[in-house]
Each structure stands twice: as C-alpha cells, then as structure tokens.
Symmetry: C2
Subunit: 421 residues, 2 copies
C-alpha cells in the first residue's frame, strides 16, 4: 500500500520532537522516505515511522506513543535497539520541570487492593515466561557483577551474597523479607548463611515456585513463604530485607513501610533496601508506568528518607549499582531474544516487541543515568553493634552451603516460628 507524502507540519513536528529530545544521534525516517534528525553517518540507528497514523500519539505523549507503536510495529527501530534508545535517553536533560501532563495523568494508588492488582499485572504473567530469560534462581532484580565478565547466574548469586554480607547475616538470624519474588534470596540466606527467613509476597505464581524450591532443597523448616502484604509482617527479626519491592510501594506508603520496619526490627537489627531509584524525584515515563509497571515509582534518596527519618533509623551505607542493572538487563535481553519464538507462541508478536522495548529501554535508562539502583543499609540510631568498616564485605570468600547442625530449639520445631516474636 503506497502511503501519501508527509505534510510539512508532520516533518516539522518530528524534527521539533527530535530537537526537544536534545538532538540525539539518531536518524528519523518517515513513511514516505523523508529523513530528519541526525545525519546517517553520525547516527547510531534510525527510527522509522511507518504510517501517518502515529503522529497524533507522538504529539500527545511521545513516550507512550513510541512504546505503543513500537509494540504494534508501526514504529520500527533500525540498528542496535538498546544503543539507539541509549542515544535518545542520553540526549535528554537530567533536570526536568514538571510537565503539564503530570497534573492530568492520574497515578495508580497503593492501597492493599491496588498493590495486588499491580503485582498481578506484571508478575503473574507466568513462571514459564520468566523462566525463559531469567537465571535459574529466577532473580528478577539487579545482579551484582564482581567483575563485568561474570555470568548472570554468578552475578545473581553474588548479589545474594552481597546483600547477606551487608546485613552481616549470622547463623540463626531471623530475617523478614518484604517482596521476595521467586524466593531466591530467602532460600540463599537459609542455605548459605543458616538464617531463618519469613518471606512475604503477593504473587501466587511466584510463591508456588518458591515453595516448591524450598521443598526440593529441604529448606521448608528454615524458610516460610507468606502470601501477604508487607504491611502485615508480624514477629521480630534480626534483619529486614527488601530487594526490588520499594519501586512498587509508592512514596505515599513510605510512612507505613517505616512503621512496619519499626515494628518488626529488633533493637540490634540491620535492614537493607534494594531499589531502583532516581537522582531527584521524577515520575516514570508514561509508557513504562501505564504498560509495564502500573503504580511503580522509583524514589529519590530524599523520598526514601520518609522511611528512615520518622523512626530515626541511621543510614549506614548507600551503594549505587546503576551500571550493574544495565549489565543484568543486557543478559536478560540476550536470553529473551533467544527465546523470542517461544514467547511469541505463548503470547503474540506484539507482546514480544513490547517486552523487547521494555528491556532495551531499561538498559538505556540505567546507562544514561536516568535510573539508579540503590542499596541502603540501616539500623536503629542507638545500635553500636554496627560493623566497624565495610572491609568484611569485600573479603573474598565463596559462600558455602550451611551445614552446621540445626540448633536444638529450631530443628525440633514442628512449625516455623520467628525466634523472638
């Protein structure tokens, strides 16, 4: 089907968008072959607008339209997708004024019901789907690459160890995990550090996988997976940990999270929160917010202080692992592409493109510095049993499976109970 020539205003609009985006080194091609934007020789790739119907959406909400039209194939990106998106994101200014859209587009709330809906939307796509491109432990959060050549499996295990070391986990420690995903960290803490873990999650699919894993590995007496909201955690714990949940909690709920931690953390307890974040408060782009992570809100460190200040928790350590998330996503995308035919059979071609865009755009967001990955370690203000330095985190020692005999009181327990509840 031959398409009409682009109108002057369409060319003008697209060129304007490209300029407002900071003149990224990306070429634009219209449905009639017109080329705009960066010159071919300096461009890392080309964004092809395949029909005039994409224009209205691009004017109304460029981020949403780019993602949606990429998903349905009416916008095509030629060249290395993460590289092209990185070029676009890198050109965009880091400071941004609140846009008029921010006042109109309502954001999803974080009530108990809404949190449940948000989790279902993303995480209950099916274990089979995630199994195709995550590591064997199904860790769907930023890995920790001790060196950039590590495999995904190694780096996810290293992340678990990094978290456990930062928490200074000891044999017999009782741990609460808020938002445990497929249970990889909880099982790792039990298996390699002798911890007893109660792990909370709202996703049935993930919990079913995690419980099966616990049975397979003989850890059911040390790890309990609870289908409930983090706000309902009960008991007292030596450590509180949350990896990759805070993004979904919503800043308006940080005061509740604060109360929860204050209620469950022992006087000498340590806490760690691992979350996607921002250098300064800013909403997610509308495509990711509407299509991928309803209600997600990666916080700035300032916003995170709403968790720590009300109970006078003391920040001990903050680490930014932004580039590790880019590397994790590269590994995911590679496996995702290899599994694309299977994924298309499970869903459809549009779904494949949508998730391709999401993974590639996430790489771009971390590489360009629009997203951060914070690990924050904290304790109560008067806890003087905090580690003297961080040296011990970096002493190289492979975590070994925990083989010490069970403590009496625990081995004999017929059902799992936190020691100090």
């Amino acid at each position: 089907m031959a398409l009409r020539k682009a109108f002057g205003w369409e060319r003008h609009c697209l060129q304007g968008l490209w300029e407002r985006a900071g003149r990224p080194s990306v070429q634009l091609e219209l449905w009639d072959g017109t080329r705009l934007g960066a010159a071919a020789e300096s461009a890392v790739g080309r964004v092809v607008f395949r029909d005039p119907g994409v224009m209205a959406g691009l004017i109304w909400d460029p981020s949403l339209a780019l993602g949606d039209r990429f998903s349905d194939g009416r916008i095509v990106i030629e060249g290395d997708l993460p590289a092209v998106l990185t070029a676009i994101f890198s050109a965009m200014p880091h400071q941004r004024k609140r846009s008029w859209r921010d006042w109109f587009v309502a954001q999803r709330g974080h009530s108990f019901g809404e949190s449940r809906d948000s989790v279902y939307h993303h995480y209950d796509l099916g274990n089979e789907f995630y199994r195709l491109w995550l590591d064997e432990r199904m860790a769907y959060t930023c890995a920790y690459y001790e060196h950039p050549e590590m495999s995904l499996e190694q780096a996810q295990a290293a992340k678990f160890d990094h978290v456990c070391r930062k928490l200074r986990l000891q044999q017999g420690d009782v741990v609460a995990e808020a938002g445990c995903g497929w249970g990889g960290l909880a099982l790792h803490m039990a298996q390699h550090y002798g911890a007893r873990v109660r792990a909370y999650n709202l996703s049935k699919e993930q919990l079913s996988f995690a419980r099966q894993r616990a049975r397979q590995e003989g850890l059911t007496d040390r790890v309990e997976f609870v289908e409930d909201d983090y706000r309902n955690i009960t008991g007292k714990y030596d450590a509180f940990v949350s990896v990759g949940m805070l993004e979904h909690v919503g800043v308006d709920q940080f005061a509740n999270l604060s109360k929860t931690i204050d209620r469950v953390l022992s006087e000498s307890g340590r806490g760690l929160i691992h979350t996607i974040g921002r250098n300064a408060a800013r909403r997610l782009d509308s495509w990711t917010e509407q299509r991928i992570f309803p209600g997600a809100e990666p916080p700035s460190l300032r916003q995170m202080m709403d968790i720590f200040e009300p109970c006078c928790f003391s920040i001990l350590d903050v680490e930014n692992l932004r580039l590790h998330y880019a590397q994790t996503l590269r590994h995911w995308l590679e496996r995702y592409e290899a599994a694309a035919p299977q994924i298309e059979a499970m869903f459809d071609a549009k779904f494949v493109r949508m998730w391709r865009f999401y993974l590639a755009a996430s790489i771009a967001a971390f590489v360009s510095g629009h997203l951060q990955l914070f690990q924050v370690v904290f304790s109560r203000a008067n806890n003087n049993a905090v580690p003297w330095t961080r040296d011990d985190i970096y002493r190289r020692q492979e975590a070994q499976p925990f083989t010490d005999p069970m403590p009496e009181s625990f081995a004999g327990a017929s059902s799992w109970k936190p020691a100090r509840s």
Copy 2:
C-alpha cells in the same frame, strides 16, 4: 561558705529535668548534699550542682547551663566524663519535636562575613593550641580506624587514603578542596597520589601552617593554598573534596555549594563530602552552637540532597563513620588531658574545662547516635566511568610517596594553574 538548704521546688525541678532527659543512669547531687536521679549503685557517675545560682539557667536552657556551669566549675561531674555524658545523651529520645526555644533563639547566618567570623571564633585559637592534642598532620576531622587499635596518627593517614581511594585519585588529577584545615589531606593527595591540589580555607592561622608544611615537603608546585571562601573556587577539577566543612556551611547555603561544585567539577569528575550529620534534621544543642561552633548545622541526608539534586549529581556511595568519630575524639581527649596544664597556661582553667566538656560531649553524641559522620561520594548523572564496585577501596595497599617524575607541563610552570581551567 555554708550554703542554704535546697528548696522543695529546686529539688522538684532537678528531678523533673532528670525525668524529662529520659531518666539517665546518673545521680544528681545538690549543694546541700541532697541526692536525686539514679541510685548510686546503678549510676555511672554524678552531676554535682555546687550552688543554688545554677538553677535559673538550668530551667531556661539546660544544655547551655550545663556546659557553661561545667566550664566555670559550678557544676562538677564526678566519674568518667564521657561515660556520664553518654549515659545522659543515650537516655534522650532520638526523635524530638521542635522546642519553643527554636523559634526564639536566632541562628547565626552564613553570609561571607558571618562565615569568616565563625571560622575565626573556632579555628583561630592558635596553631599552638591545636598542636597539643591533634595528630602531627593537624587533622581536625573524623579519622578512619581500619581496626580500632590504630593510633591517631595511623587513623588520620588511613582517613586520607580512604578519601583518596573513594575519589579514585590518579596521578595528575587536579583537585579542588573546600575547607582544607591545616592542609593535611591536600598535602597527602599531592605526596602519595601525585594529585595537584588547590585548597581553600578562611583561617589565616591554618593556612600559614599548611603553606609552611608544603614548603618543608617540597610540594609548593603541586599544592596551592588559597585564602578564600569555597564559593569563590575557580577552575575545573577532576575531583572536588570537602572534609569537615559542610557542618559550617549552613543548610541555607547548600544551593550555593551545589552551584559551586557544578561550576568547577569536570564532566568526568568525582566528588566527596565528609561531614558530621544527623539522622533527621535537628539543630545542634544550644551550648555547642553558642559557645563552640557558631553557625554550625550538621545536616541530615535529606538536607544534603539540596546539594546533589539541583544539578542532578548521582550519589554513588554513602558511608556512616559515626563510631570512628567517637574513637577519634577519645584519642584527642586523652592528649588534651595530658596537655591540660599547658593549655591552662595559654588560656585559663575555665577554657580548659570548656574544651574538656566539648570533647567529652562530642564523644557522647556520636556514641549515643545523636550525631553521624557521613562520607558521600558523587558524580555527574551521566558519568559512566564510575567504579564498577567498591572492592578497590578495600584492597590493602599502603600508599607510597609519589615519586614519578613530574609531567613536563607542570614541572616547568612558574605558577600553579589547574590543568583544565
């Protein structure tokens, strides 16, 4: 001179103050021998009020009166002074509502002139005074104890190294230091890391010492000490560092500090700010604010975000060295006590007691968790040359004096110039 018996309202008032302070394990003794507060057997020490004239001040402003009357000897503390003050501070709640005093007691400002006055007040007491109880490098900031048995000299050198490693200083890097004290860090960076440093300070006494040291050590071609305000830093630098200045900058000036850093830091530059801080915003106690550090305001991390957010700096690393400052202060106090006769000869007995109280109270503030010590490492948001992990900071290697031949362009320069200004 025999003193009258304490009135009932006086006993009542002091008992009330003790209860409001959280019932610390400290006994109170009045001028007539009456004892209140904790029982002798459970008390770590005793606060003795030697005459009725102390009462009015204690009611009006307990913190100010305690410090002032300790200084003039009308309040005596029996027992280990840091231990007694730690007992008092530890009993005090970490959360505090704004007191009515906060609305009345005006705070010193941070204009250029006021900053100069504040610095003169504290830092120009004379190099001879500080030399009596600081380490040989005259580092008047929190040291870094790789293990708690380190000497003060070792720990101050280790702090310099810790800062340099966190900044990933390379030979030839050009560094701006805001608030350089007696120049220890600047000289260390030049001597052991081959950096070229321009270091700013308002204190003539300190600068005179630092310049002499630079001449003695043959570092005048690599370190320039500038008598000026941090807001007037010029040039472009690979690293921006400030150790122990931010406490004096004032939260109302953080936006100006932000602009300064944004102006002077190169695109690939790294920054480090080392400062006394708070878990949540709260003013200093009135005695320290009025008698020791006029205008000082240790910030919370939330307040510090005023430095980082406007220019979208990315926080890479935060470490809390609270207990290291307690240890540093213990070493200072030990030397201070040994030098007390000399200090009394230089000033007077009241001065000796005042500074004794300040050092001991500072130990108590860090041990009880009312004060923090934050080291914050940051870079520009789009800087991808940031370190992959923090592993390199902890690889043990003694810093060696920098002995490589001078780069041509620098050895020949007749006057110091930052390379990229």
